[in-house]
């Protein structure tokens, strides 16, 4: 057993309202600068849809993630040898057209325009060429489109039947999918970096690209199946979501989590067994979810605690792990699944799949609807969250429905709570816990983030007076 502490995020898609606040607050803080214009460390996609960059899930095209071979896992991108051969030409990397050409407008013209024949207008100009441009795509182009034969129809997840449903007004469906770096336990980006510039932090599992070491090979951009690594053309370094480590280290949630107006996000510590990950990497798709969950350890198990202490995880972290909302969602309640587990990077970000309105055929249903009446095809959700296995998704939808039915009886004058319990996969305790986490939990309960001090590993006595002066470069005060 090799226990590590891993920060994990849960996104409850049933609460997501698709508002993009997470995207904007992240943008303001981290990528509002030259070279990062097109970077959206956090973005929100409408499903069905092709996302950002377009069709990122199409691994036949982009070759991200891992393949199972007879020798175990292998980067789809190819082995080190193959990669070296392509070192100056990487055909699998997304191009600007797969992202979009970032633009701005001739804003100042609105003020400066000389008297003219017609009203001045601020025309769009490219942030790449500085010239007038036609806007043909953007980072969120298919927002709220739902059925569209130009965009959503290219969603690689859709079956023929789902394509048909999507294109009829009565059966149109959609939901929102916020995405960020998954801070995977088996990160393809780390494996692909020829410079060894990408690493997973020992203490919290956050995956970072060392901005001093990065040599702009950009293999990480290709290798990441989620396309969450971006190349900064100004600094010639690759960059990605840093899980707001400057905030996290101080016990504050990531910006995207704190600003989430739907309150869909939770952050907590998971205690994971790295040895176990190595063991289960190649199981069949259908067993993947179960195997995956078996790598996550019970933080209140005495044996686990003892071993974790041995592995150097301190009390602050263990205490946080014992109250972890992530553990509650994933293991105790079994409500959360990773995105595309079949990529086998083992994400640390998990999603509660959404419920949806009933289909047109079930309009006149009585009471709260059951999961089999809902519009979003189960097969689509299964493709996204459980490698095509519909069982785990259906089970979660049933549990969520049970919580609703039980609470309706309790809160609005019914006497059927017992009956709901009898038929549910959930115990009363689990229902109450799920209800609490989803509706009642305070920010501090949703975000259980241990403090980091670095007191042991650095020279705090010296640093106390120096911290903050540091700037990068040789002439810095920092030695």
């Amino acid at each position: 057993m090799d226990i590590k502490a891993q920060l994990s995020m849960i996104l409850n898609l049933d609460k997501c309202i698709g508002c993009h606040t997470c995207t904007v607050t992240c943008k303001n803080m981290w990528t509002n600068r030259k070279g990062a214009e097109y970077m959206w460390w956090n973005n929100v996609e409408t499903k069905p849809g092709t996302g950002f960059p377009k069709k990122w899930e199409d691994q036949d095209k982009y070759k991200g993630g891992w393949d199972v071979t007879s020798d175990g896992l292998r980067l789809r991108l190819g082995g080190k040898f193959g990669m070296l051969a392509k070192i100056f030409y990487n055909p699998d990397q997304p191009k600007m057209e797969n992202y979009y050409e970032p633009w701005t407008y001739e804003y100042e013209h609105l003020i400066d325009a000389a008297e003219s024949k017609t009203q001045p207008t601020a025309r769009a100009i490219s942030q790449v060429t500085g010239k007038h441009m036609e806007i043909k795509s953007g980072p969120n182009w298919d927002d709220d489109l739902g059925g569209s034969d130009k965009y959503a129809s290219a969603d690689p997840n859709l079956s023929e039947e789902e394509q048909r449903l999507m294109m009829e007004f009565e059966s149109v469906f959609m939901f929102h999918l916020p995405r960020l770096c998954n801070h995977c336990s088996n990160p393809a980006c780390v494996a692909s970096c020829p410079s060894g510039a990408i690493y997973k932090r020992e203490d919290d599992g956050v995956v970072l690209i060392d901005q001093e070491k990065c040599k702009s090979w950009r293999y990480c951009v290709s290798a990441c199946p989620y396309k969450k690594v971006y190349y900064n053309w100004n600094t010639s370094k690759s960059e990605k979501c840093i899980f707001c480590y400057p905030r996290i280290e101080n016990g504050q949630p990531t910006i995207c989590s704190q600003s989430c107006a739907g309150k869909i996000r939770s952050i907590g510590v998971l205690l994971v067994d790295m040895d176990r990950f190595a063991e289960v990497m190649t199981v069949a798709d259908a067993d993947l979810m179960e195997a995956y969950e078996s790598c996550i350890l019970d933080p209140n198990d005495k044996d686990v605690i003892r071993q974790a202490k041995k592995a150097g995880i301190n009390d602050e972290w263990l205490k946080a792990a014992s109250k972890s909302p992530a553990y509650a969602y994933i293991k105790e309640l079994g409500l959360a699944l990773p995105l595309h587990p079949e990529y086998r990077t083992f994400p640390s970000v998990f999603y509660v799949p959404p419920l949806s309105p009933v289909t047109a055929g079930a309009e006149a249903h009585a009471g709260l609807p059951d999961s089999d009446m809902m519009k979003i095809p189960l097969t689509l959700l299964a493709k996204l969250f459980s490698a095509g296995n519909t069982e785990p998704v259906r089970e979660i939808q049933n549990k969520l429905t049970d919580v609703r039915k039980y609470m309706r009886e309790k809160r609005f004058g019914g006497d059927g709570a017992e009956k709901v319990l009898k038929d549910s996969a959930f115990s009363e305790e689990q229902i109450e816990k799920a209800y609490h986490l989803i509706t009642q939990a305070s920010l501090n309960e949703r975000m259980v983030i241990p403090l980091s001090s670095h007191a042991e590993s650095k020279d705090p006595y010296k640093r106390q007076g120096e911290v903050g002066f540091g700037v990068r470069g040789k002439k810095s005060w920092r030695q």
Partner: protein, 1203 residues
Amino acid sequence: MKTIKKPEWFQLIESNKERNWEELYRNRWQHDKIVRSTHGVNCTGSCSWNVYVKDGLVTGEIQATDYPQIGGDIPRLEPRGCARGASFSWYLYNPMRVKYPYIRGILLDLWENAKKKNSDPVAAWASIVENKNNRNAYVKSRGKGGFRRADREVVNEIIAASNIYTIKKYGPDRIIGFSPIPAMSQVSYAAGSRYLNLIGGVVMSFYDWYCDLPSASPQVWGEQTDVCESADWYNSGYTVVMGSNVSVTRTPDAHYLKESKHGGTKVVVLSPDFSTVSNTADLWVPVKKGEDGAFWMAVNHVILSEFYHKRKIPYFEEYARKFTDLPCLVVLEKDSTGFRGGKFLRASDVAESASEERAEWKTAVLDEKSGEIMFPKGSMGYRWAEKSTDKQKWRLEHICGVTGREFSPALSMLEGGERVHVSFDVFYGDKSTRKAVLREVPVKEVMINGEKRYAATVFDLLNGQLGVGRGLGGDYPESYKDTESYTPAWQEGITGVKAETVIQVAKEFAGNAEKTNGKSMIIIGAGVNHWFHSDLMYRSAIMGLLLTGSVGVNGGGLAHYVGQEKVAMISSWASIAMAADWQKPPRLQNTPSFWYMHSDQWRYEKSVFEYFDVPDKTKFQESHNADFSAKAVRLGWLPFYPSFRENPLTLAMRKDPVQSLVAKLKSGEMNFAVEEPDRTENHPRVWFIWRANALSSSAKGHEYFMKHVLGASNGLEAREVKKDLRTVSDKEPAPEGKIDLVVDINFRMDTSAMYSDIILPAATWYEKDDLNTTDMHSFVHPLQKAVPPLWESASDWDTFKGIAEKFSDLSALHFDGPVKDLVSVPLMHDTPDEVTQTSVKDWKYGETEPVPGKTMPKFVITERDYGMIYEKFVALGPNAGKQLGAHGVSWDSSEEYSELMSINGKITAAGEDCPSIKEASQAVNAILHMAPEGNGKVAERSFKALGANTGIDFSPLTKGSEKNNMSMEDIVIQPRRIHTSPCWSGIIDKGRPYAPYTINTEFGLPWRTMTGRQHFYLDHEWYQMAGEALPVYKENLAEDSLNETEEIDETAKGLKLNYHTPHGKWHIHSTYYDNLRMLTLSRGGQVIWLNNKDAEGHGIEDNDWVEVNNLNGTVVCRTVVSVRIPRGVCYIYHATERTINVPLSERTKERGGNHNSLTRVRLKPLAMVGGYGQFSYYFNYWGPIGVNRDTYVFVKKLNKVEF
């Protein structure tokens, strides 16, 4: 399973040295300070934000998460805020930030020349505007660039000169100002309105103009709007959302809807498109656009059948008897076929009670035990009691105010009553074969003026109206399957919603209310409110709530969310904003009537009955909306400024000014300006715009504004039509460019700035101190300066102070001391004016005598000392230290006034010692300290005052809050929750969210309506004449009746669609629309949403450039094609700008327009009536609303894109 070794690529780095680079991102996450502020206009979200400042730069913002909790099981509020708010910091430093004062270059040249010839600035201004060439030179160049940076001193001088010139030449009521929804930055709003009210200018309404005012709210409740805070959604057991896309438009609140679902609430969404909130529902009902009313008529049919007839629900019946007008008696009028509902039976109708004080305003019920007629306490006649014996009877009790006897009001006379046939009008189906239906209704015989008449209860009439037969004879439908009105099967043909769906929703909606004592809720918004017959649609839905006892209950009721707002501290704020601390009355204008006339939209339409369907239009004396508007002014129902062609300062100087004016009006020697709107003397002259995009987002009929108000290039293709006018003159040719000067105070170069003459740089919301409240939550929090006003910008408070100072200085040279001003004021709600006109009698037609304050407006003479404007501006005047109040409640305010002098410091103004409000933060203190919502001591005192009027003990409501008050400093530390107040109708307590009318239901306080109860029945004679006394279904306006598409030429025609402007995801109106962050996350410019099949049929693809037009104007934009949009409709999300990447129109060769280029207003005359109970004027409360959803457009591919 094959196991592999842990891969070697697993770099787990702990080493310090290796990770030193991590400091890079840590250094970005640094700030010198965090400042609490928010976003101060337009959005009712009212979210507290932390603004990060580093090196004197605002680097970003994130929501504050430190609200005090409501408590109980109410989910946490925070983080409140959305993507739009999060992008605000972009506005501070972007390249179109208005950094300096700007003026149209031509105008500056004219001014400099004029100043060389005239040392007096007022004379200089006269030389420009009185010379046709000079005036045309700058007027015609509006909107075409050519701005020049100017000195603030110079532009302030121009502004002051234009104001003084206008006051002297025409009168102060030609100076107007527009700024919307004050609640979000209350002091900034008050800055302009205070200045205008001090000089006698006109403050323009917004809530009605935006079409956000639900007319049904005053009709049913006598209330502008009162809704629950969003936290109360959580308490609902069954929520129907209609016309409101809360995920997009109430983003920070939407989590409550989601959380309520997880707490067991069933959510039903009625929406013609599969919107984001439809996606949130258990059940999405794709009701046909604008047919929500038909759906609800059928729901109510089912509720009456199932819950009042087949079964009886004690809770429902008890509620109906006590809190609604259902038991009230209506006198029936005989007509050719049978009877029809007439007016309420009143004390004045019955011999024994005819001599009662205000007997015409005391309505009646029948005691079910004795069979006798009773006059319940609480009706409006008791509200305005003068005799001591009638006082303290304004309360809801089953006690007769005349006899003092207790009674039990009968809902129905079905048992044992007589029956007569009553005719009910029908407004659907083929017009030529339509006829009213005749249905039996139980009645009671009454003697009125010695004559035998019949009276029925509202409840029995309602059953007749809704077609619930209960075994009665006549044209009643036989079952739910019958397609007679208003069955589930009937609605299916109109709404497209299956009958069984309606039945299920109705049973569950009412069944839930039965189980929970009224925890059924409707969330409603612009999708319904923007239709011409929105009041009928709303009343149909409200009916469902009233029948199920769901109003005045936490978790129940109507939650109307469209641009609604809540200046929580309304009493103290209004005193400052309307300058009532110095003088009354203010000139407050209902904007829809104003611009309908002044932007000459009236000249382009024929009789209103072309599209307004009534049983017999000949019963109305007027047929054109211009005549209706004029009548409303003439009879004192609505305001209109300017009032007369003569200067009100001149009028006021006459001997016996009021009598002589009335005599001239009577003889016809003088007309109201509204009767001759296009005379040169009657034009509005100077227009201040602040916190607003008045020429774009707000300008329904944008191109009419461009042409007639501004005189700018425009895309208007409509032609004037021949009209049959009775009192309004269209003899003058329609003027172009009426306004002399448009002053815009702005931080961004929006469409309004583009077309203004002077732009003053405004401080952004992170650069000033102010106060923010909303009705979406019950907390108060501030705006604060995170950085100083950047470049040469200034806060609105300081900007208007500067103008006031210049104005005062210049006035000293032009006025010898104080002058008198004659102000016309309509009959006002919440005053005894509301019990003046028992019937409509027009003195102009000789039907009655013109009596100010009774049959016509009041004319009040007030004094203005123009040299003192600045002194008064910066001091809270002595009136604020006497009485403060709102909504008809007032209390002694002297104690807080003197306390405020020590809090804010003293200042001397007009010879009086006053609390200083020179700085915005001092004005915030004044607002907080003097109002019940901010000061518990005032809450206690004000409730005592209300108790004295009603005899009700309200003391439980203020217990524990007496010692709590708040100041600017307090709310900077943490948002604070307001106190329960008699100025509002809801109770606020620990664990209890604000829900409206809970004071009414729990303490027996009457609603401010005719009966004191919630109204199903509106007995004003015009409502009867229109067939709208009871809620009724009327079809939406026929496209061919609107003069918008039928005469458009063939070359412009394309795909014809109904045109909607729902609220968008990437902007709050036009704010954030031009923000690069939002433009990048959306489609980068103006787009029109189309259904895929509609688009395909016309060869239109996604992202194509198209031209969209009708006779009102032209838009050039791109398409978004999606299956989730229903066929036959297109959306341009409100609101766009014509400033961002808009090509030229192929058709007009002018720059393409914005969303409002395709609209114009259609006024509903019924919303103009006045002097009659809750149908009495108040600012933003009553008057026609700016509906524009019945419009049609053509969409056609653009051949060539040219900029």
